[in-house]
Subunit: 189 residues, 2 copies
Amino acid sequence: MNNKINTKENLIETAAKLFETKGYYGTGLNEILAESGAPKGSLYYHFPKGKEQLALEAIYSEGKKIKSNVQTHLQNIEHPIEAIVSIIESIAAVIDSDEKSEDMTISLIALETYLTSDILRNACLEIYTSLENLYSEKLIKSGMNKENAIKLGCVISEMIEGGIVYSLVKKSGNPLRLIAEQMPKLLII
Amino acid sequence: MNNKINTKENLIETAAKLFETKGYYGTGLNEILAESGAPKGSLYYHFPKGKEQLALEAIYSEGKKIKSNVQTHLQNIEHPIEAIVSIIESIAAVIDSDEKSEDMTISLIALETYLTSDILRNACLEIYTSLENLYSEKLIKSGMNKENAIKLGCVISEMIEGGIVYSLVKKSGNPLRLIAEQMPKLLII
DNA sequence: GTCTATAATGAGATAGAC
DNA sequence: GTCTATCTCATTATAGAC
């Protein structure tokens, strides 16, 4: 892989993974340094403003991956319902597997910071909005009227987010699959 | 109010509020002690096992309040869709107000602890399951077949949870209201 | 760009007096 | 049941050498 090529990227990737799974307040900088294998002196060189700055870049990095996954499915599958169902199934499959559940959600860090850091809250908000837009655009392309598509883009994002929370806590992809099952009722064009 | 009547209850209530809004790892025991006004020496007397034990009781306390709010609406409003919409509206209204958004969700602490504490994860899971059951039972009473009702009970809970996350991050009850708007499409009996 | 050392603070937790 | 004092540890962050 592209390991060690870039210390800064390396730190961001590791931080993103840890913040996503263990939380912003639940993850220490030492832990990030240790797990990334990045040189110990380098953190405050690359991120002079400290933890919050690192988290900001980590959130954007996570957001990119999440958006990219959604985008891929929406592009490859023509029918919007099928595409959305396949997105949900791909997330459910990760949760059912033994892998660490990464690149799925920023909700933990969003909930942790929405009251304590406007910088991080806004970063999360931006990602949520992007996701909504991806869904809305797909629906519009499929012939749905704009007003409805915008509303449903938001609703779909919210449902998937709620489904992820339930699936993680229940350690099963099934709560997400129940969400997928309801999509046809919702997306009547 | 019933202030100071019971130090232990007082600690649990304050902890519940802080854990819910600032998170388990984001809230220190000192902060709980200070805000509760409880005697400083009393924490480890009432909760010998420390923070996790306090959190466990705080989660159950929060869960009781959340369930009670849902139950009240479901009992007072006969039509299931109207009842669920009014639950969602009540949450949206709190988020739109200037009050601290309490007694709405345990998702933050659920996401923080699902990997690090099976005790707390199970407590959250229990609350989620109770909420699902409340919705399912209402749907069954309204004539829906059992299988569908069970599935939709879960889906409704998930949707509301996702809606709360979005509404908190966006500092607006509207994402939740979009969820409410879709309920009629979903709950066809 | 990276290293080591360390400051400064706050965390969770414990012991023993009262 | 509560108080005070304290322990230990981890945290974020900084300073200065290389």
